[in-house]
Symmetry: C2
Subunit: 462 residues, 2 copies
């Protein structure tokens, strides 16, 4: 009984897949403060030009530099597991597969893009990267990548997480990064907030503002900002996951995938597995492709396709995406990586095109699924990953009802060893669900009411 499929280093995909090249209608551009499309030059103080080129590229395949592959080889290609034991527990005719991204040294899929971004920045002569982190998964991945490439790394970590999860800070420091609580006294953005709200727990929006400011105000010109999700080039770097998965399925003679599932906060984990399958769907394959989000932060399932800022402080360009409004503050669910008011524009466009079908789930159902997974397959999932697993279980039960031998694949985006507090609360019945009330949704959406609308929204397709 084969429980996992490996690839050797020489079988690793050597190009990333760019969904933008295949979408039926072209992507709509980000807009500047004046409402006009922004130009690559306008992004130059924030990102290096080689990554900006990837961000706006419409090439279908983009070569992965050999030096990036050599760093990824430390843990890639990642194994594809057959979930025999979960299948047995569910008594389902479905064959369930998962890519195991938890075996990367920081424990998630995030290093796939962290390594690529650090490498391109280094190529461009950059010596220092700044970023924000919430629960710490992204900050850890960038610290790891910068360490291996010899770049400085500065992380602004949301104050409440900084206090609650000191181990994430230590992890980043072990990889040589400097991590401070946000808001900090090191930036104007941080000081402004602290003057008004000295006891604020911080937010991802504030931390992004600090990290961007720290990059653009560095007088040496050798600092840039790095983002862990949402943007096109970030999603691009993650497609190595799905491309590997396809090779692995082919290797064991699995010809047809019926359901593809990934949890989605900013969208990079979902896209990494799913976009190569979205291409198949565009080319005529029948596949149900499901990004999963929490009911407490229902960006894809209940928010409109709109133009909105990526951060609370409105420092970023307007992005065409489903958004709950940049003032939305998600409830304190444990899946910190899914607490984001927007979603990647490429994911949004795929929703608008009807290529993918988002679903929302409660956290209690997700924790139940996570515990079943840990006790059958053996790996303790991150709280974000658990949302995908709960959806897999729903689909596996459906396959049983329909008596269909479906092939289901999902991305096991990370392990939960750094997030055991959530499990502790789950076992002691301290967790609750937070489905978003309609009036709160409407109130939050007011912040985007007067912003420009994307074409698809205007045409009434959403």
């Amino acid at each position: 009984m084969q429980v996992k499929v490996l690839l050797n280093e020489d079988e690793i995909p050597r190009q990333w897949y760019n969904l933008a090249a295949d979408l039926p209608t072209p992507m709509q551009p980000p807009l500047g403060p004046d409402g006009n499309p922004i130009t690559p030059d306008m992004l130059a103080p924030v990102f290096p030009m080689n990554l900006i080129e990837q961000e706006v590229s419409s090439e279908r395949w983009i070569d992965i530099p050999e030096e990036i592959l050599e760093i990824l080889y430390r843990w890639r290609p990642a194994p594809l597991h057959r979930a025999h034991f979960l299948e047995k527990a569910l008594d389902t005719p479905a064959r369930i597969y998962y890519k195991n991204e938890s075996i990367s040294p920081p424990g998630s899929h995030k290093p796939n893009t962290a390594v690529a971004q650090a490498w391109y920045n280094k190529q461009f002569g950059i010596t220092r990267l700044t970023t924000e982190t919430g629960a710490g998964q992204w900050g850890s991945a960038l610290a790891f990548a910068c360490s291996l490439l010899g770049l400085e790394c500065k992380v602004y970590m949301v104050r409440i997480s900084f206090d609650q999860k000191p181990f994430r800070k230590t992890m980043m420091e072990t990889w040589g990064a400097n991590c401070v609580a946000s808001p900090s006294t090191e930036t104007k953005a941080g000081n402004d907030i602290l003057a008004k709200l000295p006891d604020t727990p911080g937010s991802l929006g504030i931390a992004i503002s600090e990290a961007i400011e720290a990059a653009v105000t560095d007088e040496t010109g050798k600092s840039r900002y790095s983002l862990g999700s949402v943007l096109n080039h970030v999603l691009l770097h993650q497609t190595i996951i799905g491309l590997e998965a396809k090779k692995q399925l082919e290797k064991i003679g699995e010809k047809k995938v019926d359901v593809v599932i990934g949890c989605a906060g900013g969208g990079s984990n979902f896209s990494g597995l799913a976009f190569p399958f979205v291409q198949d769907k565009i080319n005529g394959a029948e596949i149900d492709i499901i990004p999963v989000e929490p009911t407490s932060c229902p960006t894809m399932t209940r928010a409109p396709f709109a133009y909105d800022h990526g951060d609370t402080a409105m420092m970023t360009p307007l992005l065409p995406m489903h958004s709950l409004g940049h003032e939305f503050i998600p409830p304190p669910i444990h899946a910190g990586g899914l607490r984001y008011h927007g979603i990647a524009p490429l994911v949004s466009q795929a929703i608008v095109e009807g290529l993918i079908n988002p679903r929302a789930l409660d956290q209690l159902e997700s924790y139940q699924a996570a515990v079943l997974f840990a006790r059958t397959e053996g790996i303790i999932p991150a709280p974000e990953t658990s949302h995908a697993i709960a959806t897999v279980i729903q689909e596996a039960k459906k396959a049983k009802e329909e008596a269909k031998e479906k092939v289901i694949i999902f991305n096991f985006s990370g392990h939960g060893l750094m997030d055991l507090t959530g499990y502790e609360k789950f076992f002691s019945d301290q967790l609750v669900d937070y489905p978003l009330p309609e009036d709160e949704l409407q109130k939050s959406l007011k912040s985007i009411e007067n912003l420009p609308k994307p074409e698809a929204a205007k045409s009434g397709r959403w």
Copy 2:
């Protein structure tokens, strides 16, 4: 540039290697309370007979049941990494390799024997296993194994660790185990201690006593005790590490290994990698084989080869091993897995035979090595593993001085993600070394003065 060597599932070793079959002089038997060798029957209330048979076996090769392999396939065969980046940082002509045992779901090599022990117990009709754990690595591994095999698992966790590391308890609970602080009020041993010392932080010795009592007093007869190191059958199960490593080295044409290194607390991690190479040495190969321990607990480098109890409460048989005395209480170094007064009898015998050459290291040197490793190879090591890495660095520097292209291999026994407190203290200069003063050693050795002496010790070979 190849950075790791994989094996497919069908290349996994199908037999364990038993060093006892090849040692130049036969192992000396454990002794009962009367000073006479114990018989298998005397161990029957504690261990199932199929494991007792392995414990006393002198067969060189023992088949690994297919059902055990099917569980190990979740993460095995484990990758063999070439430490290109550490080599570069050290500017050494040595080629450094490491087996990456940190990719198992509990994060260490411990599941190799946990799965085997749980399976043999289940075969024997046992439904519940009891054990002790210090820092939590072993308890987690047994909880994991019992979960996958459908056994109950009860873990007595040393009180001070239970309080300091609540995440380990949550990890075990996620896998369905019941974990209580030791001393507990659930056993006579625990109550006796609590009556005398209500505020005791506990010890591994007390926890072992509780776990054994819980197994032997279960009136259903369906409970047994499980140990994570020291015993012959435990070391046997770990030899899959070294057997895989040899296949992997062969695959890349690496014909001669010069140095083999592993950290050693009870000895199972070291033995797992090293024993298959000890066999080569017995057969004439020139290999330097180095088990590494902390200077604060110098069992192999400064203690005599003696007969001693495995626990503080003297409940276990007398084992022929190097021992600091069963009353020895190691200082609070962070490598909890290396804080043990004795060492596996098979390791002791190999020392006495001159087959392996133990070394002791300070914890500060180990943490320095761990940080260099994290920043070059990318994986954050467990504090135990760091002792092996520091020794690798010593040997790689020596190879540079001698201008020799040596091949060095070590076991990366586990990641440090559950032990980041030690790194935090290291970075804030709160860690110190605790080399054992000679007078404390002599004082501790008094507890074994009047116990029987093994033959080798009598003959003056030690």
